[in-house]
């Protein structure tokens, strides 16, 4: 894992302790580290240069308050500045026009335009009760139209059929006509992916824009994009009067510096962020979180949200009920919990979201090994009958042998797992009796592999 900016700076500033102000001299070296961090996050170099200059201007003369080190003070400035740069203008979609409000989607190949179209459509339909129509002008890639049709159906919005032998302009004209006659509020025009240097294709999208005068013209951009993001964004921005940017694939592990590059070059607001392939995976853009992420400071809020997404509320409620009712914690529950952890991306992905210093500590405690142990435990539970899961005390020698064979492990491992489970069960009992302190004491041994 890349070093976190905080750590890097703390190395640089060791000899700076006790200085009360950030000055030209003492921040030069620190700014170099900031520059590295931004480049590692794929922020484009020209943007980095501008940014560093701006931070320098703001930082020099700042007082180092209270217990902060100069490094922390500088990070504060950097973080604030990043947040400010990426935030600002109000987001959300502007639909204030005579319906149908046309929304044009553009971007490179594979940026995620079609998926984003469906996500936005679903969002508008569910949050703002709009009547939404989609149409695809991608007559180039095989089955692109089919794809929009499928995702539109999944999103529960209407789709205007087109075919690959039509011209994009004709398709859009027909769709607009249809949308008007059937009183749609919003018409999404999905387009083919194109490279900014492809003059013919850029002319095509310009023509589309000129004909429809869309109220929103959204540029869809992959959060993993590298240095070239500036050139691409600039070319699209020059060709089309963009009104906003949608960042996609934010659930990957890229630091997403492209967000800053694109924002800076186009000057257009970052409106939404796409996470995951499910059609509800669309969030409003959070500049402060993005700033933390670019700086490698972890995305705790993201982790919390992911936890909420991953955990099935109903199941959690049912579990709490069961505990309250004094019924025992059995292997079914154990398995359930393991499953939920997996849904959140497993231990290692959770660790990665933590700020670097915590993540490292957890790694040292055997994070990766823990993952494997958990998979084995799941395997062992899977080899049990429902009866055994509900009443683990049934499991005696011959059952253990059968379970061990079924899971492909040694009998000892089954024993170990059962012992761990018993400890956990005991803990849960204490918990239901209301002894939080006791619970904390009993915590040891709960996470197999973690505390060893």
């Amino acid at each position: 894992m890349l070093d976190n900016l905080t750590q890097r700076l703390s190395r640089v500033v060791k000899n700076l302790r006790g200085q009360a102000r950030l000055s030209e001299e003492n921040i030069t070296e620190m700014l170099r580290e900031v520059r590295m961090a931004l480049l590692e996050a794929d922020v484009a170099l020209p943007v980095v240069k501008d940014f560093i200059a701006k931070v320098k201007e703001k930082a020099v003369g700042q007082e180092v308050i209270g217990s902060l080190t100069p490094g922390q003070a500088l990070i504060g400035v950097v973080h604030r500045e990043l947040t400010e740069l990426m935030g600002g203008q109000a987001s959300g979609l502007n639909l204030a026009t005579q319906p149908p409000a046309v929304i044009l989607m553009s971007g490179l190949q594979g940026a995620g335009k079609t998926t984003t179209t469906a996500k936005l459509g679903k969002w508008l339909k569910e949050r703002q009760k709009k009547k939404v129509l989609t149409v695809s002008c991608d007559v180039y890639r095989p089955a692109a139209i089919e794809q929009l049709k499928t995702v539109s159906a999944q999103a529960g919005i209407d789709f205007f059929p087109s075919s690959a032998d039509q011209k994009p302009l004709d398709i859009a004209a027909a769709a607009l006509d249809y949308a008007k006659r059937h009183y749609y509020d919003v018409l999404f025009v999905d387009t083919a992916g194109r490279l900014a240097i492809d003059a013919a294709m850029m002319a095509e999208i310009k023509a589309l824009h000129a004909q429809f005068q869309p109220i929103e013209s959204l540029f869809v951009v992959d959060a993993m994009l590298g240095q070239d993001a500036v050139n691409t964004a600039k070319a699209f921005n020059d060709a089309l009067p963009l009104t906003g940017i949608v960042l996609t694939k934010l659930d990957g592990d890229a630091r997403g510096g492209a967000a800053l590059s694109v924002r800076q070059v186009t000057g257009k607001p970052l409106k939404f962020a796409g996470v995951g392939e499910k059609l509800n995976g669309l969030e409003e853009f959070h500049p402060e979180r993005m700033a933390s992420r670019i700086l490698g400071m972890g995305d705790i809020l993201g982790l919390v949200e992911e936890a909420q997404r991953g955990v099935d509320q109903d199941k959690a409620q049912a579990f709490a009920q069961k505990m309250k009712a004094g019924k025992g914690f059995d292997l079914n529950d154990y398995k359930e919990q393991i499953g939920q952890m997996r849904q959140m991306g497993g231990l290692s992905s959770m660790l990665e979201k933590l700020p670097a210093q915590f993540a490292q500590a957890a790694q040292q405690a055997g994070g990766a090994a823990g993952e494997k142990t958990i998979a084995r435990i799941e395997g062992i539970i899977n080899s049990m009958t429902p009866m055994e899961r509900a009443k683990p005390e049934l499991i005696k020698a011959s059952r253990k042998r059968r379970i061990a064979t079924g899971a492909g492990v040694q009998v000892q491992e089954v024993n170990r797992m059962l012992t761990q489970f018993e400890q956990m069960q005991k803990m849960m009992k204490q918990f239901s009796k209301g002894g939080m302190q006791k619970l904390m004491r009993g915590m040891k041994g709960m996470m197999p592999g973690m505390m060893r």
Binding site: Q109, Q147, Q227, G252
Partner: protein, 323 residues
């Protein structure tokens, strides 16, 4: 040096805007024009100084080389300047060319599909990297070599991915094994059985795009590989990771993550025809070297070709050389 200037028209993508037909070497050069332009300008200066080195650093960074590879290249160059007493920027330029050659040469290991019949190739990658498109191009490429090709529509997740492959297969007369929905591993298993029965030479197995952070999907792709091994114990004979050249330093992470899950044996670098790119190859060579089997510089069916380090470096530096 440029062995394949075949003229082909884009019969397969009738709607694609017609581009002037250039040789592969020229197209590659055109793709890397921007990076080359920046590199070229640097070496016209009078002498080697800090400023030149700094600008070289910027150029390398902007070509997506990443910090690690850029610093390595610069350190190496500086030590050569000292050791070999380099004085003129022209000498520096040839030193850089040598350095890049040496760095990229180990990646040049063309794919040999003769080792087994059927030769099973599994394709992996993140969403939108160009997997399905690359499969189309590869199929055509093998077909031209007189091989019988079979495609397995293993992307059962994304809407219309199956249709995309089927449309493509129909146009180009390549059989596609697909199922209405269901388990990708099952589709691939079927395809291998069919390949054995029909005497197919190459099986190309598509998979759904996935981000390395989606652990359950990474597990799924590992399962696809295990199922291939069940159907054909020697397979898969090649696990190709498709990388989008537009992607920044996350490319390195992707190689590592997919390698961990399925054991990547080769790379396809697509979409090199943007503007300022190619440096990501240096980052990969430094941090996670894997053979680069093919590189793609356009939408045309012939725009995917075997990677040659010398050709690639030449395209980065030489504006007009005669093949």
């Amino acid at each position: 040096m440029f062995g394949f200037e075949k003229k082909k028209n884009n019969e397969d993508t009738p709607n694609a805007p017609v581009v002037a037909q250039l040789s592969w070497g020229e197209r590659l050069k055109k793709s890397l024009a921007k990076t080359r332009g920046q590199l070229g300008g640097l070496f016209h200066r009078a002498k080697i100084d800090e400023e030149l080195l700094e600008d070289l650093e910027s150029t390398l960074l902007m070509a997506d080389c990443g910090i690690e590879a850029t610093q390595w290249l610069l350190e190496e160059l500086k030590s050569r300047v000292k050791k070999d007493r380099l004085e003129t920027p022209t000498q520096l330029r040839s030193a850089l060319i040598d350095l890049l050659q040496a760095l990229l040469a180990p990646l040049e290991r063309p794919l040999n599909i003769a080792s087994h019949t059927p030769f099973i190739i599994m394709i992996a990658g993140v969403n939108g990297g160009g997997k399905t498109t690359s499969i189309g191009k590869l199929a055509k490429h093998f077909q031209k070599q007189g091989k019988k090709v079979l495609l397995a529509a293993g992307d059962t997740f994304r809407a219309a991915a199956r249709e995309q492959l089927m449309v493509w297969g129909e146009r180009n007369d390549v059989s596609v094994i697909a199922q209405e929905s269901g388990d990708p591993a099952a589709v691939v298993f079927d395809a291998i059985s069919a390949a054995n029965a029909r005497g197919i030479d190459v099986v190309l197995a598509d998979t759904a795009g996935r981000l390395p952070t989606q652990l359950h999907l990474m597990e799924e792709i590992a399962k696809i590989k295990r199922v291939i091994q069940k159907a054909e114990p020697t397979g898969p004979h090649e696990v190709l990771l498709v990388l989008d050249a537009n992607i920044g330093q996350n490319a390195v992470q992707q190689v590592k993550a997919f390698d961990k899950a399925v054991g990547v044996t080769g790379l396809i670098i697509t979409k090199l025809d943007g503007t300022a790119k190619g440096g990501v190859l240096a980052a990969i060579a430094r941090q996670c070297p894997k053979p680069v089997r093919y590189i793609g510089v356009g939408e045309g069916i012939d725009d995917l070709q075997a990677f040659r380090a010398s050709e690639f470096v030449a395209a980065l530096f030489e504006a007009h050389d005669t093949p």
